[in-house]
Amino acid sequence: MTQAITPTQRTTAATFTGLKCKECGAEYEAKAMHVCELCFGPLEVVYDYSALSRVVTREKIQNGPKSIWRYRPFLPVETDTPIDVGTGMTPLLKANRLARRLGIKNLYIKNDAVNMPTLSFKDRVVSVALTRARELGFTTVSCASTGNLANSTAAIAAHAGLDCCVFIPADLEAGKVLGTLIYAPTVMAVQGNYDQVNRLCSEVANTHGWGFVNINLRPYYSEGSKTLGYEVIEQLGWQLPDHIVAPLASGSLFTKIYKGFQEFVKVGLVEGKDVRFSGAQAEGCSPIAQAYREDRDFITPVKPNTIAKSIAIGNPADGVYAVEIARKTNGAIESVTDAEIVDGIKLLAETEGIFTETAGGTTIATLKKLVEAGKIDPDETTVAYITGNGLKTQEAVQGYIGEPLTIEPRLDSFERALERAQTLDRLEWQQVLV
């Protein structure tokens, strides 16, 4: 069938009106720009909330697509046909076994390890960024990535038919590099850490007319993370949790979950209450945790050295805002060692059947630390955000997990191996008990 005329993309009026500087309040048109021309503060999308509260209802959302686009009026795109590859609406799992192990009662895991199409929360932000990139007329999209974002940008660009060039640090985990190359983008492996990649991309964005999802498209891109807030509210039966724990890299995800919660309260979709926000960092890259601990309102950059590469940002753009939110919500920001991160990955897998990557290990290890320090009330409804998949960072756990028992294809060989395995198990238990 030949369709002579492409259907027009824009049917519903956009609910956003422009961009505004978070620092000085200067206003701009909703184009591809991310920092204020006057003070270099970050630009944020401005919505017409009174118009929004007239058009959104719980029923409309529930009857919408089974993806982040059920919240389209809260996202900064104009089209009614966004790029929808089934992103979002990931499971919110009641984690009873993990909760019991930690000594708390009402724990949930928001499981973006199974987000679509590339198994991390980044699919949310990229779906929004590329939809907006198309509206703004970009034909090439790009990003500075620690791995997950490159996977997602390359995959969704392939689906949308956009040219793609991604920049990653050269020392990334093999799974993350392969998981990008398969979509056949141009991949620039930069000999440097993420902060150097990011700086280079800012320079490239100055001179090439590309849509960098996390640079010149950042105000749109980052709004995608709000859906992690909306979904939790909806999945808790239209209620806010009491406490959330999320990983901190640039701090953007953390601040946008907060914004998502606030927006649903503002338009009357959920009853307001105080939610505590706690953040998780790896000790080998913890500039936000350090600022929190030292009660500073500025971030001192660090040079990352941790296995948690996906969150190893030494110069985090939204760090100051993350500190502010943790403080004003009576949450906390903690950091954990690489060994604790591996234990966190294993603990989540063994108790809940979820295999997360190092960022998720950081979150679980931090959750454990917060419980042990009495910073999480056992009765609080607590949501831990798991943002990526363990199959991508296999190197991190190699050598820390068991090995298969190799046996002959004979019953007696199996019986002997089983006996041995059970003895080893018993010994391990005795060690634990002692």
Binding site: L38, F40, N198, R199, E203, I215, G251, K303, A317
Partner: protein, 91 residues
């Protein structure tokens, strides 16, 4: 001391749309003054009312963040590359 300076998009209106310029200065602080002479108005965008570098701007000398060097007093050599980059990016 002539150095190469990379100018971010929001400041290119001061530099007549040039992304790269040549400028002089023995330190970052001196460079800022000489930038102001060549492109009046640019310093107020880079520094706050107290004259401190704004917190949402990063300066790099040959790819190293000046906060790991000597801040605004970081010394410059002829041929150095100074990159001015908005801090808000990535993640």
């Amino acid at each position: 001391m002539t150095v190469k300076v990379l100018i971010p998009t929001p400041l290119q209106k001061f530099t007549r749309d040039q992304a790269t310029i040549e400028c002089t200065g023995g330190t970052i602080a001196e460079l800022l003054d000489s930038l102001e002479q060549d492109f009046p108005g640019i310093k107020a965008r880079l520094c706050d009312e107290q004259g401190n570098l704004r917190r949402f701007i990063n300066f790099y000398v040959n790819s190293e963040d000046i906060r790991f060097l000597d801040g605004a007093n970081t010394a410059l050599q002829a041929g150095d590359e100074v990159s001015i980059v908005p801090a808000v990016a990535g993640g």
